[in-house]
């Protein structure tokens, strides 16, 4: 069993598991942090961005000044943003049989895999994962495509040149494999390969393994996967949460007794407690708005935003913010808000019960109804008519490199009354803000990551008791910035096996058993013999038939008819059935055996104990009988008669059938 690790990002994993002749890709995450190296794509022409000076080498050589721009000491690529794809060279991706998706954030690289690698398999995901994943992809494509950029920089990727660049460009890995965004057509084609599944549904893969999605509690439709055969069980835990937010709670019980547990997608901010962060978010939002400032919340169009809106729904009246408008701007804002209300079966119990009242499960419906929350596909159109300040704007993309957020950063960045509050944990806020420097607006970092923290993981592992844990290497040591926090790492026995990008792990467990079915008529013909109390044996003569990883024992064909009556061809097909020698069982008690030998006229018998058993030496006959646990050898010098005599004496002590 092997694990091929195609992504180095612990929360955007992409691994391939080879297990019992199946090749299963676990998640298909796209590392978007590469876009932080690029200049933002403004929706409206930005004089500031277009007038940034080109970057030149220390010696004044300015041949890169068209591709690289400098802003407040940082260098950015002036080009269409590109993404860091999963490794494609480590394994032939056309051999991947299935892709299992655990949540909508972990499927963003799907079009690259399904459309460009010769992939012919099936993708499995839950319905909300697919629907919301589609929204995220649609938003991404829309953000990139609506601001076409004439220039595409590639010179800087040249290895010789990249070495000369300042950090972090110099240290970026595999820049030659970075790719621009996919198209909507590719998205649709990729999504068409997905087969929808429900929690606890058992899906057979070629008869060899069974895969089952389990609720992971992190997002709408998010799942962990169980991959099991008759005798082996692998759990894949990715992006799970034990907090009470909107999704169905995590199913922990089914993860018990795994041979291997692959653990990815833990919280990226282990030191920040989501409750405290929501408090910070609300307090800072209220403070800014009270002072007449605007609040910008760069976010994804689905996920934590639902919880934030719910918190605000309870908070705004108490904080006297009822008159402040909340805007949610995204090409998919409407669909996201609507979708969240229709996936009732995927929601937590509280929200599910609301549906029967009937009430919308999320209170943002009421915010929309009362006009407190308004949503728009983009800043153009209706939004510009309704726009009123001070206000709170939720919009993407959280990397601040594309999407409507770029416009608001340019618009509000100059005033210290305004605040940008980062709630998504995927990007370093300092790096995200780098191309906007100098910036007057206040920046608040309240990352809300509801995924498992290390305390929860250690409890989970204690309960699930897996034999082996496999995880990204980042989880096996404290974070580099807090090297003293020994609590911020996975602590389990035996220690977790770690992987990094482009590594192949041989998972430490061997398959020992295979299940075989016996046909009823064959079973009927068996005559078990009890060889000791509780243990019966029967000899079986059968044909082992293997197809689609299922093994069946069928009755053997009838013995050959006398020749002449059957046609020759038929008799050729019948396997050669020799007369079967009886099977032997039992053990030889040495003392009694020696007595028997003496009775039969052998004398001068010596017995020696060896590590494995005994040697009976018949000195007179110059013969040696080696008795071991599972074999007996009679060594005599070319005296077949003697050998047969001795053999028969040995056989007297054994049972035959």
């Amino acid at each position: 069993m092997k694990l091929y690790c195609l992504s180095g990002h612990p929360t955007l994993p992409c691994n391939v598991l080879k297990f019992k002749s199946t090749t299963i890709m676990l998640d298909c995450g796209l590392d978007v942090t590469s876009t932080l190296n690029f200049l933002p794509l403004p929706l409206v022409q930005s004089p500031r961005l277009s007038n940034l000076p080109g970057w030149s080498l220390k010696d004044g050589n300015a041949f890169l000044d068209k591709e690289l721009k400098e802003c407040s000491g940082h260098v950015f690529v002036d080009s269409v943003p590109e993404f860091c794809l999963p490794e494609t060279e480590l394994i032939d991706l056309s051999t991947v049989d299935v892709i299992l998706i655990s949540n909508y954030h972990c499927m963003m690289a799907l079009p690259y895999i399904t459309e460009h690698t010769g992939f012919t398999g099936t993708v499995y995901a839950t319905e909300p994962t697919v629907q919301i994943g589609r929204l995220l992809m649609e938003e991404l494509v829309n953000f990139i495509e609506r601001v076409p950029k004439a220039q595409s920089a590639s010179l800087w990727k040249n290895k010789g040149i990249q070495r000369l660049l300042p950090s972090p460009l110099k240290d970026a890995v595999g820049v030659s494999t970075w790719r621009g965004c996919y198209t909507m057509q590719e998205v649709n084609s990729a999504l068409s390969k997905i087969q929808l599944v429900g929690y606890s549904q058992k899906i057979e893969l070629f008869g060899a393994v069974q895969v089952t999605p389990l609720s992971s509690g992190y997002a709408l439709g998010s799942s962990n996967w169980i991959i099991q055969s008759h005798y082996e069980k692998v759990s894949y835990v990715s992006g799970s949460s034990l907090l009470t937010t909107h999704p169905q709670p995590m199913d922990q019980a089914s993860l018990k007794n795994s041979d291997v547990l692959i653990l990815t997608g833990l919280t990226q901010i282990p030191t920040a407690n989501p409750d405290g962060m929501v408090g910070e978010f609300c307090s800072n939002l209220a403070l800014t708005v009270r002072n007449g400032g605007n609040v910008l919340v760069p976010c994804y169009p689905s996920g934590v935003i639902y919880d934030l809106l719910e918190c605000l729904y309870q908070y705004i009246d108490s904080a006297g913010l009822s008159s402040v408008p909340f805007y949610f701007i995204s090409p998919v804002a409407n669909s996201s808000l609507e979708f969240s209300q229709i996936f009732a079966e995927w929601l937590c119990h509280n929200k599910q019960s609301k549906v029967y009242l009937p009430e919308p499960p999320f209170p943002h419906a009421e915010l929309i109804q009362t006009n407190k929350l308004k949503h728009y596909p983009s800043i153009h159109g209706d939004f510009s008519n309704d726009f009123r300040q001070p206000c709170v704007v939720f919009t993407g993309h959280p990397s601040l490199r594309f999407g409507d957020v770029v416009h608001f950063m340019e618009l509000w960045g100059k005033s210290s009354l305004n605040t940008v509050i980062f709630t998504e944990p995927d990007f370093s806020y300092l790096e995200a803000l780098a191309p906007y420097q100098p910036l007057a607006m206040k920046c608040i970092y309240c990352p809300i990551d509801t995924r498992l923290n290390f305390i929860q993981v250690s409890k989970l592992l204690k309960e699930a008791q897996p034999l082996h844990v496999v995880c990204p290497e980042q989880y096996t040591q404290p974070p580099p910035t807090q090297s003293h926090r020994m609590d911020l790492m996975i602590d389990c026995q035996p220690p977790a096996m770690s992987y990094r990008r482009a590594e192949v792990l041989a998972l430490p467990f061997k398959r020992r058993y295979e299940k075989i079915e016996i046909m009823p008529e064959l079973a009927d013909s068996l005559v078990p013999m009890e060889i000791k109390p509780g243990i019966s044996l029967a000899t079986v003569s059968a044909v082992l038939h293997t197809k689609d990883n299922k093994h069946v024992l069928q009755p053997p064909p009838r013995p050959a008819q006398p020749p002449g009556k059957k046609r020759k061809r038929v008799s050729e097909d019948i396997p050669d059935c020799k007369v079967l020698k009886p099977l032997l069982s039992g053990s030889i008690p040495v003392e009694q055996f020696v007595q028997t030998l003496e009775k039969h006229g052998f004398s001068d018998i010596k017995v020696e104990d060896t590590a494995k058993g005994h040697i009976v030496l018949l000195q007179e006959a110059e013969t040696l009988i080696q008795i071991e646990e599972d074999s007996t050898h009679i060594i005599c010098d070319n005296d077949e008669m003697l050998r047969v005599r001795l053999r028969d004496l040995v056989l007297k002590f054994l049972q035959k059938f």
């Binding site: 920040a272 407690n273 609300c282 009270r290 108490s318 020994m486 609590d487």
Partner: protein
Amino acid sequence: MDPECSRLLPALCAALADPRQPLADDTCLEKLLDWFKTVTEAESSLLLLQENPALVELLSHVLKSQDMSSRVLSFSLRLAGTFAAQEDCFLYLQQGELLLGLFGEGGPQCWAAWSVPTVRSGWIQGLRSLAQHPCALHFLADSGAVDTIFSLQGDPSLFVASAASQLLVHTLALSMQAGATGCSGLWDGVWPACAQKIMGHLEESLQSTAAPQVTQALNVLTSTFGRCHSPWTETLWGQLCPLVARLLERTPIPAAHSLVDLLLSVARSPALSSSHGRLWEAVAQALRCLSPMQAGSLALGMLKLPHCPQALRVQAFGVLLQPLACVVKATAQAPGPPGCSMWPPGWLDGAEGSSLTVDTLLSSKSACVGILCQTLAQLEELQPLPQRPAPWPQEPLLGAAVTILRLCHGSATSSSSGGGRLCATLAGCVRVQRAALDFLGTLSQETRSQELEKEVFAVLSEYLGSPDSSPTVLKKAFQTTLRWLLSSPRTPGCPDLGPQPLLFLRELFPVLQKRLCSPSWEVRDSVLEFLTQLSRHWGGQADFRRALLASEVPTLTQQLLQDPESYVRASAVAAAGQLSSRGLQAAPDSPEHPQAQQGLLGELLCILSTDSEGFPRRAVVQVFTEWLRDGHADVARDTEWFIATVLQVVSQDLDWEVRVQGLELAQVFLVQRLGQPRCPYMVALPEAASATPIPEVLQSLCRLRLFDFAFRALLDCDRPVAQKACELLLFLKDKTAMCGGLQEAGDIPGSASGQVTLQRWRAGEQGQLPGDLQPEAMLALLRSTDLEGLQARLAQSSDHMEKSPQSLLQDMLATVGVLGENEADCY
């Protein structure tokens, strides 16, 4: 005994003896027993029994019929004990073999009812009551009761087991007392038989291998040394001390908790001064051998003793300091000396052996949290005591508290594996955080270096600013901050804050600002309380005023007057009131804003009259009272209007606390107008001329309808309101005693109608005192009302009428009677 009660007793005893008459509840039996106790304290029990033969009949009946309810049986046992406490009555009851039947070996112990814990408990309590004289002692020895008591020590019911232990202690003491000879009453060194028996039992138990038995013996001894301080206890200790010391040699030490209690009890006993030597040895051994958790309690107890030898004090303090020293050592950047040398030399020497044990303890989460919380609480308890160890290691303790807080917060940096482990164990632990913050607060009372003060303020800043601080931790952090700010050393002759606190305060306001917007109401509430305290202390200080006014805290405070949570509104009222008294209120944003126009006074009046919750309304009246006392400008502008308006609103309030506080406000007003109440013990000073002549004051009181308010409150259905009103009117009566003519009430116009109105109010009718009442009429009304009598009546608790034994007996009989009737109806 009351003849009426005597008359009721036979019927009651008959009812009790009748098993078909179930009692309504246990409490009446308890009350009945209490009453008998009072009666027997005042009268002869023998006489009582002779005059009321029904009582003896009841007891004999109990003996005869074994199907009594367990409650009545238990009651009878206790009752018999109460009577037999007097020697003559004891003899009387013994003649009839009653006592032997009830408490002897063939008594209830053989009955089925013995399995009920109440019966066993009643048996013990009965014996405990009767064991008051030498006859009783003989009875105990002869009847075999002592052996039963021994066995009851291990009773499954904790109440019974504990009562049995207490009875043993009492019996031992009584026996020793009886053994005392001569008129001096001194013990002659020979143990009486009963005492010997108990001693033997105790010695045997102490040598037992079963931990429960050891615990029982230790508990008996602990109570004995705690209660009896006669010379014989010294001999007792001398005899048992080696056995106790031997317990310390066992592994694991049995009943360690009880052992600690015993050692402390012996150490505290004044009778054992000469045999303390052996005690100190045992204590020193215990401090070495016991687990750190148990040794901690013993160490604290020892340090509290005024006469504890110095060597032992050093050892005990070492035990207390050890866990903190281990934490500091584990987190010290460089291993070795720096961590240890912080502590005063000698303190930790004796405890080196336990350092390993403590280290192991710190490795498990629950043990680590337990020992740190205990240690911090113990040191906190020790700090203010005069007998605390000297020199007090203030700096290392401060360092340790700060380190623990940093560990809990995850901000302590440590390269060592021990430090990392501690960090993992303590990160986010609310219990330790609270204990450490409390301890840090206590340490604020000591002198400290500027360097450490900076550290403390830095860690407090971390806690106050961190989004991860839980609301309870945050509240503690605010309290600790306040203590540190208050105790911060000031430059002599300058009332201003020191540079360190000032710097801290400047950084604090943005944090407070953010916290005031917190979605958690507990947080908003704590901040407001903190702010009220801050401005109470530094409201007049220029730097503080500047920092506060530069922030949005005053505006946010005013906005929180509209908070949806009533506790927060109440705290906001207090804070805004305090800020306003200090002239620190928010500048109105826009003059046309309605709230800005009406000012804080208007807003508070609005809360008082419209808020649906009691807390904010109570807070408003408190603020108004404070404003009146301090002469707040808004109040001083037109005090009469202010008083009249507030009293009118308050009089309609449904919350009695608001009404009481309204009366308090009225009293402050009266004191301001009429001067302080006369104190009978005060040295007669030349009376300061009252600002206003009394007739004029009375005139204004009539105008403000203060009389109306006070008289109505006098008849309030809530007793505290009536009491307060009574106090107020008595003050007024006293102040106006010398004023006005001697006219009879009836002669003054309006006075009669006033009386009528009062009567009507009493009857629950609505109505007002005649509006145009003249001061004379009021005065007359005041004088004609029996305020003193009313005050005495109000001082009695509301159930004084129902407390009489007669009514108790009647009630019990009535219940029985009703049940009887129902039974008849069934047929």
